[in-house]
């Protein structure tokens, strides 16, 4: 059973991680706490549902589309609205994103109504045994896609010119502008990547679980926990944070029962904040 629990934790941890990465990225580069991120994921989920319903295609195939749509949305919203209050501090930007969150929920409500949606591929029940542990193919695939997306994002930021420009804008706004980086474009691109990732994760999320327009709130706490545990803005850190959270999920249920799972999680989180305020390997403070 312990092996099964570890596998459960890892598989769901991969998804948690990539959800957290999308949030952490925007925070790390722009210092914005994006409260609309949960609902952006749900929007991705709804797009997938719609495409599966209309074209009867495999849900995994819709991933690039929902990712791309959210990418464009993210670029536009950052360029037109969020940049306008970019220097206003955390309160203002988080209130703004909360406003966006409400608008997004209303848009979903107007298009799709308030009822729940889900996609159910026929192969959902297929699984295989590994040393006595059951591994569902769907979960493995979701894990795999999520990890690939996260790792390639990390590679993109570290090894491409655009990625370097984004990094530069995060570290020193003025210097970046002096060397000719269009900082508004970099920021919009960052937000777009984050939203695009959220859209893609929405596709994966809805394969695992039905959603309603209000489900974004369930995700918000996961976003926070994973991103903070990994050190805000740190992609490999968020990956580790997600896995740790998945494993905590599993073992708190095993040892104490599901009722106490959240208590363990939040208590652990607060203790980490108090004793390791920069997460597992967050960036250090330079004077």
């Amino acid at each position: 059973m312990i092996l099964q629990m570890i596998i459960n934790g890892l598989l769901v941890g991969g998804l948690y991680a990539s959800i957290g990465v999308s949030f952490s990225l925007v925070y790390g580069i722009m210092g914005i706490i994006n409260l609309a991120q949960g609902t952006q994921i749900i929007l991705g989920a709804y797009l997938t549902c719609a495409m599966v319903q209309f074209f009867h295609i495999d849900p995994f195939l819709t991933l690039p589309v929902s990712g791309f749509v959210l990418f464009c949305w993210g670029y536009a919203i950052q360029r037109c609205i969020i940049n306008m209050v970019g220097k206003g501090g955390v309160v203002l930007t988080s209130l703004l994103t909360f406003g966006l969150n409400l608008v997004l929920i209303n848009i979903i409500l107007l298009i799709w109504n308030a009822d729940f949606r889900g996609v159910n591929p026929a192969y959902a029940g297929k699984n295989f045994e590994l040393f006595g542990a059951t591994i569902p193919y769907v979960r493995l695939a979701v894990f795999f896609v999520a990890v690939v997306a996260t790792v390639s994002l990390h590679w993109f930021l570290g090894h491409t010119q655009t990625g370097n420009a984004i990094h530069a804008s995060a570290q020193n706004k003025r210097a970046a502008q002096i060397v000719g980086i269009n900082i508004r474009h970099s920021y919009a691109l960052t937000f777009a990547i984050s939203s695009g990732l959220a859209g893609a994760m929405g596709t994966l999320y809805v394969i695992l679980k039905p959603v309603s327009p209000f489900s974004g709130a369930d995700l918000l706490m996961i976003l926070f926990l994973v991103a903070v545990l990994g050190g805000l803005g740190n992609i490999p850190g968020a990956l580790l944070g997600g896995v740790v959270m998945g494993l905590t999920d599993s073992f708190s249920v095993l040892c104490l029962g599901m009722q106490y799972q959240k208590i363990v999680l939040f208590l652990g989180f607060i203790l980490v904040l108090i004793f390791l305020p920069r997460g597992f390997f967050g960036r250090r403070f330079y004077g």
């Binding site: 609205i81 220097k87 209130l95 409400l102 709130a217 939040f266």
Partner: protein, 332 residues
């Protein structure tokens, strides 16, 4: 002739008179409302005052001190549960339970504040969120709190009108007390210390301010009033469960009210609460399908055009450049 108050702010004699008269009339009107209006409107206004208290609560810690206690609803829930548990299990009368709720919130915030107020900005924000979730989960699994079942409080004795009037005046007085407290802080050295910490904590400590006690004090005052509001709410509703008193939406609403009215001003959050509650009540009863769109848009427009709040517009000429000032200042 412009005079200055103790903190060196300009006040003009004429302006003060006009302000005092308007406030006096408004206050009198507020006290007379239950005589003129009944039931629903008294209730609605009591609800506005409750949000006024909550918004003032975050105003002290976030508006003045700059520490974004996003999970401040924690003390609301805590206050509500202290009152509910004392009244149902121990037969304590409401005034005692009410006092105990405030005390409980202060003890809790001061204790935990010493630990987590060291965290900078966003980490503090998330710690408070996690704390409020933690508290909700703990209360959901304790027996004495009824777990997820919630608690039914002893009923308020008296007729329908008495109930409404009692809670109307209770909320009104609490809100006034809270605002008075902020007014005192605003015109004393405490206000300067809080604002110094908000704008630059390092610089403040180099100027001789020891931030931890000030921050803890700010959070304790904030939690005191939030706890009182929770206590009154529990007795008012007569039934509470963890989902009701620990919801995150009111937490965000408090911030919206504070920012809309003016963070770090004495009356701003109250004005914000009045505006948001009444507008949303009307918008929600008339444009049901678009309610989130409307409230969300108000939020976005506020952030864009009046980032310093409605109070910032008071006494200024309404011109186009006044509204675009926010964008000009905050644009990247």
């Amino acid at each position: 002739m412009a005079e200055r108050d103790r903190l060196g702010r300009k006040t003009t004699a004429g302006g003060a008179w006009a302000t005092r008269t308007v406030f006096g009339v408004l206050l009198l009107a507020a006290f007379l409302v239950p005589l003129a209006l009944r039931g629903y409107w008294v209730r609605l206004l009591a609800n506005v005052f409750m949000f006024g208290i909550l918004a003032q609560g975050v105003n002290i810690i976030a508006g003045y001190c700059g520490y974004l206690a996003l999970g401040n609803i924690l003390f609301f829930g805590l206050g509500a549960y202290v009152t509910a548990v004392l009244m149902t299990h121990f037969g304590v009368p409401f005034p005692v339970a009410f006092a105990a709720s405030g005390a409980g919130a202060v003890i809790f915030s001061a204790g935990i504040g010493l630990l987590i107020l060291r965290l900078k900005g966003q980490y503090f924000l998330m710690a408070t969120l996690a704390l409020s979730e933690l508290m909700r989960e703990v209360i959901s699994s304790l027996d004495i709190t009824g777990g997820g079942r919630g608690l039914t409080l002893p009923m308020f004795t008296g007729g329908a009108a008495t109930v409404n009037n009692f809670f109307y005046y209770l909320m009104l007085l609490l809100m006034l007390a809270c605002t008075f407290c902020i007014w005192l802080i605003d015109r004393s050295y405490l206000g300067l210390a809080f604002k110094a910490i908000k704008f630059d904590e390092d610089a403040a400590s180099v100027m001789g301010i020891n931030p931890p006690p000030y921050k803890t004090a700010a959070w304790a005052i904030s939690s005191l009033f939030t706890g009182f509001a929770g206590s009154a709410f529990a007795y008012w509703m007569g039934y509470i469960d963890p989902g009701v008193v620990f919801e995150i939406t009111p937490s965000i609403k408090m911030y919206l009210m504070m920012v809309l009215g003016g963070a770090g001003t004495v009356w701003g959050p109250v004005a914000g609460a009045l505006f948001i509650e009444l507008v949303s009540e009307l918008a929600w009863s008339r444009f049901m399908e678009y309610q989130f769109l409307i409230v969300g848009s108000i939020l976005i427009l506020t952030c864009l055009f009046t980032p310093k709040g409605l109070m910032d517009l008071v006494g200024k000429k309404f011109t186009w450049s006044l509204f675009t000032k926010g964008i000009r200042e905050n644009k990247i």
